[in-house]
């Protein structure tokens, strides 16, 4: 099974976890994306919303579960075919929340172009922005190395009809 182990810098990442947890807690009761269900039958909307929310909760629990006591010992998080999809989705949910709540003063163009200089950001925005970038980096790593697993689906599903495999079987990354 393809597996990515990423060694993170504890002094950099640990301070971000409080904000991730707080955002995750809010998303226990709130769908991250700005969706409207106006075109859905009225008697179907609540079921629709509840299922989206339940899925989102599961994703966020999986993501926050990566930062357990082992993480604080070795600084390593691991992604594989079993958790790749759910973690990528969780990162998306949290980034949407951070953007709408904590980083709302930034322009869309700034975020899309990556043209934000951390040093020049007001202090209150620095941690949310670092969090936003950190989650985006996790997504990129997973998509780069485990997109084939996501496209195939969980182990045990139908055989893939296309070879999406990447070469790297193992990946270590030190982030400073």
């Amino acid at each position: 099974m393809k597996r990515i182990e990423v060694k993170l810098s504890l002094p950099v990442v640990a301070p971000l976890l409080d904000l991730m947890k707080a955002s995750s807690d809010v998303l226990e009761a709130q769908i991250a994306a700005p969706i409207t269900l106006d075109d859905i039958d009225a008697d179907f909307r609540e079921e629709w919303r509840a299922e989206l929310l339940a899925g989102q909760q599961e994703e966020l629990h999986a993501l926050m579960g990566l930062f357990n006591s082992d993480f604080f010992i070795n600084g390593v998080v691991a992604f594989d075919e079993d958790n790749a999809e759910i973690i990528v989705r969780a990162c998306s949910a949290l980034r949407l929340r951070l953007r709408r709540h904590d980083l709302s003063v930034l322009e869309d163009e700034q975020l899309e172009s990556g043209g934000v200089d951390l040093e020049t950001l007001p202090a209150a925005l620095q941690k949310p922005f670092m969090c936003y970038v950190f989650l985006g980096t996790i997504q990129e790593l997973i998509i780069q190395h485990l997109d084939g697993a996501i496209l195939r689906g969980p182990v045990g599903d139908a055989e893939p009809s296309e070879d999406y495999g990447a070469d790297a079987d193992d990946f270590d990354s030190d982030k400073d």
Partner: protein
Amino acid sequence: MSDRGPTIARRIEPLLAGAGTRPGLAPEEVALPQSAYAVQGPWRVVVLNDPVNSMGYVVLVFRKVFGFAEPRARRHMLEVHEQGRSVVWSGLREQAELYAFALQQWHLTAILETDEAH
């Protein structure tokens, strides 16, 4: 309560399995009964731009949900990015709802449209 049977997510599974294992037969190419169109009209699944989800992520989602080949997924992604929206599927309402739900599970801003809305 809804009379739509099993949960939405469970109903999506065969839909996605079909997309994932038959990349040569993309969802838009599946023939649908004309009589159903006549009754219901075509529904469009539209993805709107958001400044958060990366291009690579959106391409992955389109490939996963619809079974699009990468060039096609990329084309729709660029349409979303540059024009603010892309019609990614059209057809019967119930299936359009399932696709919209699947896209929303991936936290994309997906909406449904009909000709009546214009």
